[in-house]
């Protein structure tokens, strides 16, 4: 059963990631990107990281994808449908294939092929103590980053010119 679920998730994620970049209509691309995020959340759930899967769904799909979709609708032009996007297409495909083959060989030749699935797993209730004890500085830094990102984005997005 999991095999089938894994295969379905992999196909959904990869195909919608390709669609996100290649769909003619950029709004379709944004929705496909959201679907790809959902697929990644499914992988997290398969890896027994349920809390993280929900984190991914809420933040990536619920917030980032919505923001992207809104902005895409804001700046979309009809003429984008006609012009051909992508100039160095062959070069891009070649680069992608080289990277995929190289990294794929690296993974294949590494010791990870022997990593066996284990039944034991960590409960997600450990996340809070870990973040608030070992990584509390990272959390505070994260809030600084978020605060400055919001302030910077508001300043960038408003029309007022000095």
């Amino acid at each position: 059963m999991v095999d089938f679920v894994f295969a379905a998730l992999a196909i959904i994620t990869i195909v919608s990631a390709i669609l996100a970049l290649e769909a003619k209509e950029v709004v379709y691309g944004a929705v496909a990107l959201a679907l790809s995020f959902v697929g990644i959340a499914g992988f997290f759930a398969l890896l027994d990281a349920v809390f993280l899967a929900m984190f991914q769904l809420t933040v990536y799909v619920g917030a980032i994808a919505v923001l992207i979709l809104f902005t895409v609708m804001l700046v979309r032009r009809e003429q984008w449908l006609k012009i051909k996007e992508g100039v160095y297409r062959t070069a891009g495909v070649v680069a992608a294939v080289i990277i995929a083959l190289g990294l794929g060989y690296l993974v294949y030749a590494s010791a990870f092929t022997h990593a066996t699935p284990t039944l034991e797993q960590a409960p997600f209730t450990l996340l809070g103590p870990l973040i608030l004890s070992d990584y509390w500085a990272a959390l505070v830094a994260l809030s600084l980053v978020l605060a400055s990102a919001v302030i910077g984005a508001v300043v960038l997005a408003k029309l007022e010119r000095d």
């Binding site: 379709y28 809390f51 769904l57 809420t58 619920g62 979709l69 809104f70």
Partner: protein, 382 residues
Amino acid sequence: MALIRNLLEFLIRIAILVVIIIILIPILLLAAYHLLGPTFPIEPSMLLDPSETLAFTLKLMDTDLFRITVFPGFTFVALYAAIAGLWERKLLAKMQLRVGPLYAGRFEGILQPIADVLKLLSKELVIPKVVDRFFYILAPLLTVIIATAAVAVIPVTDKWVIARSDVGVLVIFAVLGFFPITALMAAWSSNSRYPLLGGLRALHQMVSYEIPLILSALAPVVYAGSLNLIDIVRVQSSVWFILLAPVSAIVFLVCALAELERIPFDLPEAEPELVSGWLTEYGGMNFGLILGIAVYIKLYVLSALFTLLFLGGWLGPAFLPPEFWFILKSFIVTTLLLIPRGVFPRLRIDLLLKQSWARYLILALLNLLVAALVVLSGFSLR
């Protein structure tokens, strides 16, 4: 002559429908048979022998298929939606000294939902020329699908639940986060101005009120120390959380109203300004799927969530079954969410958004910190 031709045409269409259904039902039954196969063997003799019918039915009721399709699942929720829709119309009519639906069914128009569905089903599907067809058809379907997905984690009692998820509360909020996307899809694909403005308002409103909603739901989670909805209800056996976190409960109710786009927060479809908001271009069953089913399923989900988090779920005096208590409490919460439509005027959009961030967010945060301090001081319900 024209009448006869129309009749003939209609009869032919009905015949096609019947043939399709006759083909479809065996396929569905076959699928159900294969789904049930591993759980328990079905012998054809069981279906024919009357003495085994009861045992067979009881066995059937204990399967995932039954739960998904019938009791805490789709049929129950659709029924709840129909009853809530009728109840809303009658209640508002009585509040405003009208009579409401009266003719369908002998008594007070109780068959009105069925009449509505039949009318919507037989209506022409008008799809404007300029719309983006793929998203236009997909958006209502997705809205219903997403709304139903949230139902899966809501336990009616500790026995009647589809998915016993350890992160039930988060699943519901993750699902709620999908609704802005479908609203935007519907608004954009309509390629018209009223839907666009309505969709944008819907987006901003849902997004603004989601944060206070999540944070107000966090206070019960802090008290219970679990995200599992069943555990949260069990902890409430001594005291309901509405007594421990009253401010959170009020914030939750207000934000649920806003998430549902109901008056006083129904700006996305403010009739005098925006005709019908992001649903303007929808008609027939397309419209019925969103407004008739998805919105009421969402209403059920939020009132059930309020019941589970603050009102002790299915807990109640033992002389009535727990299922009854849960449905009664949910229905009372639903009624509370319906009443403002008959009472309040509408807000202005900038005030609406501002008060979400400046008022409800701060209130929810304060109540959350109070709850955390109470728990830190050693108070425990477990």
